[in-house]
Symmetry: C2
Subunit: 417 residues, 2 copies
């Protein structure tokens, strides 16, 4: 049996390495996200009911409901959510993805990222910046105003620029940025300016002067604007490797603040979940561990793709944001080689003598070693309405892999070696 | 005596660390470079007469003479140079600097970079890109056309943008770029996009659409556009530390393709020279060591400032351009700590756990250890008119330091301990 698993995993790796990620469009979610109807709310992580949703996810839904006009006040929004009128589902079931709470509703503009090789379009929310933002559950008027500006001003301008550019190759930027100390999850110091450098001439060509200046400044100040497109790119690439019978490669890691879930190629769309863990991190002034929400967000798709914490050795300076030392960053990546089956052909880290990033988390290796994938992540306040309060490190619970291997064995009708 | 040397060197380091580098203006050389009159040609490295100038420096002077209208053909330019009509001098004597041949003539637009703390303005040529360019001695019509466009179109636009920005802080960009794997001499993959990110909103504000697009694309494609401003910044900072009696710190390393020269704080403006060495490097297709000109250019001011090869440990990917391995890059920086007296307070390398770059090359330490400063550099073809043919590594000849210590001892009237 191990031969056929090996072959299945090789096929998964082949598809991942052949995939690409072109940022091609911005569109209204209702136009491009499959299954996005009125009163539909897609969220990060595995499926979760309103009653189990954490504070920041509820906060983001309150904000989104007011943005959509479904509610005028937070109390009205909560009443609507409790009434059962909203249709909730995991974005991962709808070719969509978003960091932290990852809330997507019909009137939101989303990035469209295309895996051209496999014909998969994946959508993601627009990155709002750090601090008080919708994805972390903040919804005061400053947040709502920014959301409206992004939707009605920024997105249409970016769309024109992107069409003028004929799309922007995100994995080419990711490969360059890895050479420049980014890990493409919590450190985007290189990828974001590289995006601006690519985009600027096209923005200038299509936009009004003042709006172009505003857009350039916003993308620069947001710091991680490219993250949401990279996330959609990673998902589109990994989705092409999903559903390969016999493959033990992880194709999704996602958290909703209540549970962490993984999906495995050989078991398709099935989730294997465990309670979302706490995050060991660096907190913004005035906040501490007692304020922290458990792990949340779809951004661990970067780790699933071998970026983020898996590529930390190439990003020693990320420890200034998530904690730890450069030595710890190298150790983390070295540990991740123990649970992966390949090294990426084009995503390489100069600090490890241009070794490829660890690619293809194998649930068997995780269980053999007891080493689980580390995640670099932002920390939300557990109370709705506050926002981001820090950043740090956590790991996927081993329970997810224990459940996965059982289900995988069942698909084979035998015990797993 | 060693106590007073120590104190003098501490003063030099203090001045270097307190200095800054603001890119504040672009002006015609005749308006801002002290001593720049008609038929004046300033060049890289220590002073050198026409008869001793190497092929690429002569090529650049031919191009500059045609650009100025002093000659219509290369033969006319050579005749004028041989006639003694041109006044040659080292740019370093005139608060100016340029990479490779570093030729500056009166009608050229130059960057003005200000050390605000010490009131020193330093000028540098504009970076033309790689390949066939004036600084490497090429002067065909494509080179001349590009030079005219840069002078008459690009520079005035950049000037307006820079005034709108109120100047751009180059050492802030350098500090960031060091965290992103640049060494700020041969690797500017981060610093150049960071410059574009800072500059773009101001360019958009002041420029015509098509010219802004052209400028953004040019700066991006040039790859190292920021290098010439960083060089002027380094010189302005180091010049403030020149002329401190009793200091054994190197304040200039510069080469003219004929000789390599250094200057030392305690001996002021005196040059200590040796024949320019060959460069061990990576050659562009079709070229080899037999085509290579000896070491040339003022860009080793970056090494003098603790950047370039001295900061190579922080820039492992630069070895793809200059040769070697990431391990060699770390070794190089570790060796440079042996010949320097300090570690920079704000220029830090994450790969060495945020250790400061080696700062303040001490001629005594060079002579004690026999380790001389390594230089990352481009390689010119030795024939005039060709241009860049590769990049690589070389070192400052020990002879420069032997001469320097003798002169230094003479200033003290004693032998050096």
């Amino acid at each position: 049996m191990s031969t056929s698993i090996k072959r299945a995993n090789q096929e998964a790796i082949r598809r991942i390495e052949e995939g690409n990620a072109m940022w091609v469009d911005l569109r209204l979610a209702r136009e491009v996200v499959p299954g996005m109807d009125e009163h539909t709310v897609f969220h990060a992580g595995p499926p979760v009911a309103w009653r189990n949703m954490c504070g920041p996810m509820r906060g983001a839904i309150i904000g989104a409901s007011m943005f959509e006009g479904w509610a005028r006040t937070p109390d009205e929004a909560i009443a609507i959510a409790e009434s059962g009128k909203l249709k909730f589902d995991s974005s991962h079931h709808h070719r969509a993805i978003g960091p932290m709470s990852g809330i997507i509703t019909p009137s939101m503009q989303v990035n469209v990222v295309r895996n051209e090789r496999f014909g998969i379009d994946t959508c993601s929310t627009l990155y709002m910046g750090t601090g008080k933002v919708l994805r972390h559950g903040a919804y005061d008027e400053t947040v709502m105003a920014k959301l409206r500006w992004m939707n009605h001003e920024l997105a249409p301008l970016l769309r024109l620029a992107l069409h003028d550019a004929g799309g922007i190759d995100l994995m080419a930027i990711a490969a360059q940025a890895l050479q420049m100390g980014d890990e493409l999850h919590n450190r985007n110091k290189a990828s974001n300016p590289l995006l601006i450098t690519k985009l600027a001439p096209h923005l200038v060509k299509v936009g009004e002067r003042d709006k172009v200046i505003e857009a350039l400044r916003f993308i620069d100040n947001a710091g991680h604007f490219i993250l949401n497109m990279v996330m959609a790119g990673c998902k589109g690439i990994l989705d092409a490797a999903s559903g390969i019978p016999g493959s033990t490669i992880v194709t999704t890691i996602a958290r909703n603040g209540y549970q962490t879930g993984i999906r495995v190629s050989g078991t398709g769309d099935q989730w294997f979940t465990a309670p979302a863990p706490v995050i060991k991190g660096v907190f913004f002034p005035g906040f501490g561990p007692e304020d922290a929400n458990p792990d949340m967000g779809d951004s661990a798709i970067t780790e699933t793709m071998g970026l983020g914490s898996l590529a930390m050795a190439g990003a020693p300076a990320v420890v200034q944001y998530v904690g730890g030392t450069p030595e710890f960053a190298v150790e983390t990546t070295m540990n991740m080689y123990e649970i992966t089956v390949a090294e990426h052909k084009t995503l390489k880290m100069p600090t490890l003598n241009f070794r490829g990033t660890p690619l293809g988390i194998d649930i068997r290796k995780v269980l053999e070693t007891g080493v689980t994938p580390v995640i670099n992540t932002g920390i939300s306040c557990k109370r709705a309405g506050v926002g981001q309060i820090g950043a740090g490190l956590t790991a996927v619970p081993i329970e997810c892999f224990e459940k996965a291997i059982e289900a995988f064995a069942a698909t084979r009708g035998v015990s797993v070696d």
